[in-house]
C-alpha cells in the first residue's frame, strides 16, 4: 500500500451523516474481481443522473471542488457493508483523507467512522481523521466561504491545518498501530509472518475444530 505522511489538498464537503458503503460504491460495481477501476463510480447513485451525466445537485460535483483530495463529512461515515471496494473507490477517485466528527450521544462518545471502514482505510493508505463536531463545523463553514479552501494533514504531528491568512490547526488522535502502518506503508501480512513461530506454537496447543469430520 501507499504510505501516508503528509498531504496538502483542496477540501470538499459532503453534508450527510451515516454515509454507508452502499452509497460510496453501489453493488453493481462489486462484481469486479479486480482492485482497480472503482474511482469514477464512487458515490455513483448520487453523482450521476439517469442518463449518466453528472448530477448538478450533488455537492461533490460542484466545479469548485475540482481536484479535491480531502473530504469532510458528518458522523458515522462508512457504516454498513464491509466492502473494501468503498475504500478503493475513494482512493481511486483522488481522496487521501476523510474527516468526520465524533459525536456525543446520551453522554457517550460515538466515533466518526464505522469500525470496518476505518480498518479497511488504514490497510490501504487512506487516512481517517476524527475531529470534534465543532471543528468539523468550522471546516464546513470555511469551505463554504473560501473558494478552493486547502488544508495540510500531517500524520507525524497528528495535525490538520486549514490553510489561509489565519491558519487554523486541529489536533487529532490516532492509535499507534494505524499510525505506524500508514507512515511506513507496511505490508501487514509480512509483518505478521515475522511471528509465524508464535502462530505455529499456538496451533500446537489449540484445537480450532472441536469436531470430528464425519
Amino acid at each position: 500500500m501507499e504510505a501516508f505522511s503528509t498531504h496538502t489538498g483542496i477540501v470538499a464537503t459532503l453534508n450527510r451523516s451515516n454515509v454507508d458503503t452502499d452509497q460510496i460504491i453501489p453493488k453493481q460495481f462489486l462484481k469486479s474481481i479486480k482492485r482497480t477501476g472503482y474511482g469514477p463510480n464512487a458515490f455513483f447513485d448520487w453523482r450521476y443522473t439517469e442518463d449518466g451525466s453528472p448530477d448538478g445537485d450533488f455537492e461533490l460535483n460542484a466545479p469548485r471542488f475540482a481536484g479535491r483530495s480531502i473530504l469532510a463529512v458528518r458522523n458515522n461515515f462508512g457504516c454498513g457493508s464491509s466492502r473494501e471496494h468503498a475504500v478503493w473507490a475513494l482512493l481511486q477517485d483522488g481522496y487521501r483523507v476523510i474527516v468526520a466528527p465524533w459525536k456525543e450521544i446520551n453522554g457517550e462518545r460515538v466515533p466518526g467512522f464505522a469500525d470496518i471502514f476505518r480498518n479497511n482505510a488504514t490497510r490501504n493508505g487512506l487516512l481517517t481523521v476524527e475531529l470534534s463536531e465543532k471543528e468539523v463545523e468550522h471546516i464546513f463553514t470555511e469551505v463554504t466561504r473560501n473558494q478552493g479552501q486547502t488544508a495540510t494533514v500531517d500524520l507525524p504531528s497528528q495535525q490538520m491545518t486549514l490553510l489561509g491568512p489565519d491558519p487554523v490547526v486541529f489536533e487529532f488522535d490516532i492509535d499507534k498501530g494505524s499510525k505506524e502502518r500508514l507512515l511506513e506503508g507496511l505490508d501487514d501480512i509480512a509483518l505478521t509472518l515475522r511471528h509465524e513461530a508464535d502462530i505455529t506454537r499456538f496451533e500446537s496447543e489449540h484445537d480450532p475444530m472441536m469436531t470430528v469430520r464425519r
Binding site: 454507508d20 453493488k27 462484481k31 464491509s82 457517550e108 466515533p111
Partner: protein
C-alpha cells in the same frame, strides 16, 4: 474479578500481543463468499503465498446467484465471472466450496450454523459485515475487509485492537406479534446506528433466553446495524440442542459433543463480570417496528407516526429531509396508511425455517393483494428443503407468492431480484439504505409476520390487531 463471555474467548485466542497495543488473534473458522474474496486470492497469487489452514476455510456463493429455476445459468456475464472465479480459487487453493448444485449451498451466514461450523467459543471471520450472526452461538464472529481476508488466508490470524464490551439486556417477555427482529430494530432506534461502534454487544436477559437459535441469529445479525462489529449470546441448552440436532457434519457428536458442552458451559459471563456499557430494554414494551428512512435507526413503532425532522434523536434536519424525500413520505404519516408494491421475505436476517413458518402462518388461507409482488427466498437450500417437507411452499404459492431458491436475492439485488425506482418494499432484510434493493427502491424493514401481513393487505399492518382476529 469475573470475565465476560467476550473476554474468555478473546483470551483463548491471543497468539501474542503486538508492539502497538493490539493483539494477534487466532481465527478458527474463515468463511468466504464470491464478492469480497477474488482480490484476496489474487493477492496470494501475486505474492506467491499460500493458505495456511485450508481445512478451516469454507466457501459458498450467495450474493450473485439467481434464485429462479434456471439458476445454474447466470446470465449476467460479470456475476458469472465472479462465481467462476470463486470456483477456480477454491479448486486451486484447496478450499471446501458449497457450490450452487450442492444441497448445502446458501447464504454464508446461514450455512455456518446449519453445518455445525459455527460453535460456541470459536473465533469466526468472513469478508462480510453480517458475520455478527454467528455470535448467537457464543462465538466471537466479525466481518472483515478484503485485505484482512487475504491476511487470514495466509496467517490464520488477525491483528485486532481489543473492543469494548456492551451488555444489552432484554428483560420481561415480548407481547404477541413481537419478534427478535423487533428487538434489534428497537435497540438500533434507541442507541443509533453508531451507538455500538467500537463495542462487542452481549445480549442477555429473560427475553433473549427464551428465544430459539433462529431468533437469536436474527438479532445478532443486526448488531452491525447498531455499529457493533459483533454481537454475542451466551451458549445454553437451546444452543446445545441446536448443535446436537439434525445433520451437522462439522459439529462434534457423541462423546466429543459431551466434552465440548462441558467446556462451553464455562463460557457465559461470570456474575461479577463488568461491561464498559450496559442497557436494559423492557421487551414487554416493544411494539412491532417498521423503518421509515434510509438507515435502520430511522424506525418507529407501527402505531406511531413518522417523526418530524426536528423530533429525532440522532439525525439532523437535513438527514431526515433527505431520507423522507427519497422515501416519498411526509412527517406525521402512519405507515399503516402506506401501500407497498413488493414484499421480500428472506436474507441472512430472516431467511430461516422459523421465519418462513411465521410468515406461512399469516399467509395460510389468505391471498396477497393484487398489486403486490411477494417474493419468498429461503436463506439456504437446506431451509428450502425443510420448508417443502413442511408444505410451506404450497402456502406461499397459494397466497400468490413466488417460491425461490437460496441466495441473498433482493436483500441487495446483486442478482436479478431488484426493486425498480420508487417501488416500495416491506422487507425482512437488514438494510434500508438508499438503492440497497435496487436503484431508487424504497425499503422498509419489518419482521417476517409484518411482511407477510403487508403482502395480504397491500399496506403495512399492525400485526397485533391481526392476531386478535
Amino acid at each position: 474479578m469475573g470475565k465476560t463471555l467476550f473476554q474468555k474467548i478473546w483470551e483463548r485466542h491471543v497468539v501474542r500481543e503486538l508492539s502497538d497495543g493490539s493483539s494477534l488473534l487466532y481465527i478458527d473458522r474463515h468463511l468466504v463468499h464470491e464478492v469480497t474474496s477474488p482480490q484476496a486470492f489474487e493477492g496470494l497469487r501475486l505474492s506467491g503465498r499460500n493458505i495456511r489452514r485450508p481445512e478451516l476455510t469454507f466457501a459458498t456463493m450467495d450474493h450473485n446467484v439467481p434464485t429462479t429455476e434456471d439458476r445454474m445459468n447466470i446470465e449476467d456475464p460479470v456475476s458469472r465471472a465472479q462465481v467462476e472465479a470463486l470456483r477456480r480459487n477454491c479448486e486451486e487453493f484447496g478450499v471446501t466450496l458449497f457450490d450452487l448444485e450442492d444441497s448445502r449451498q446458501g447464504i454464508v451466514h446461514m450455512i455456518g450454523p446449519e453445518l455445525g461450523l459455527t460453535l460456541p467459543g470459536t473465533t469466526i471471520v468472513c469478508g462480510d459485515s453480517h458475520t455478527s450472526t454467528h455470535g448467537a452461538f457464543g462465538a466471537l464472529a466479525f466481518g472483515i475487509g478484503t485485505s484482512e481476508v487475504e491476511h487470514v488466508l495466509v496467517t490464520q490470524s488477525l491483528g485486532q485492537r481489543k473492543p469494548l464490551t456492551y451488555k444489552v439486556e432484554f428483560s420481561g417477555r415480548p407481547g404477541p406479534g413481537v419478534f427478535s427482529k423487533d428487538f434489534a430494530l428497537k435497540l438500533i432506534g434507541t442507541i443509533g446506528t453508531a451507538g455500538g461502534t467500537g463495542h462487542v454487544l452481549e445480549y442477555g436477559g429473560e427475553a433473549i433466553a427464551a428465544l430459539s437459535m433462529e431468533a437469536r441469529m436474527s438479532i445478532c445479525n443486526m448488531s452491525i446495524e447498531a455499529g457493533a462489529r459483533a454481537g454475542m449470546i451466551a451458549p445454553d441448552d437451546t444452543t446445545y440442542a441446536y448443535i446436537a440436532s439434525k445433520d451437522r457434519p462439522y459439529a462434534p457428536a457423541g462423546e466429543q459433543l459431551e466434552k465440548a458442552i462441558a467446556f462451553w458451559k464455562t463460557l457465559p459471563s461470570d456474575d461479577d463480570a463488568t461491561f464498559d456499557r450496559a442497557l436494559t430494554i423492557d421487551a414487554g414494551r416493544i411494539a412491532p417496528q417498521v423503518t421509515w428512512g434510509n438507515n435502520p435507526g430511522m424506525v418507529v413503532d407501527i402505531d406511531q407516526p413518522i417523526p418530524a425532522p426536528d423530533q429525532t434523536a440522532f439525525y439532523s434536519r437535513a438527514d431526515v429531509e433527505n431520507a423522507l424525500a427519497y422515501m416519498g413520505l411526509a412527517p406525521g404519516t402512519f405507515l399503516t396508511d402506506v401501500t407497498v408494491d413488493v414484499v421480500f421475505i428472506g436474507s441472512c436476517t430472516n431467511g430461516r425455517i422459523e421465519d418462513l413458518r411465521l410468515a406461512a402462518k399469516v399467509l395460510k388461507g389468505r391471498k396477497k393483494a393484487d398489486h403486490v409482488q411477494l417474493l419468498v427466498v429461503p436463506g439456504s437450500q437446506r431451509v428450502r428443503e425443510q420448508a417443502e417437507a413442511e408444505g410451506l411452499h404450497d402456502i406461499f404459492r397459494a397466497a400468490g407468492g413466488e417460491w425461490r431458491y437460496a441466495g441473498c436475492s433482493m436483500c441487495l439485488g446483486m442478482n436479478p431480484d431488484q426493486l425498480k425506482p420508487r417501488q416500495r418494499c416491506a422487507s425482512t432484510s437488514n438494510r434500508n439504505f438508499e438503492g440497497r434493493q435496487g436503484k431508487g427502491g424504497r425499503t422498509h424493514l419489518v419482521s417476517p409476520q409484518m411482511a407477510a401481513a403487508a403482502a395480504v393487505e397491500g399496506k403495512f399492518v399492525d400485526i397485533r390487531k391481526w392476531l386478535d382476529r
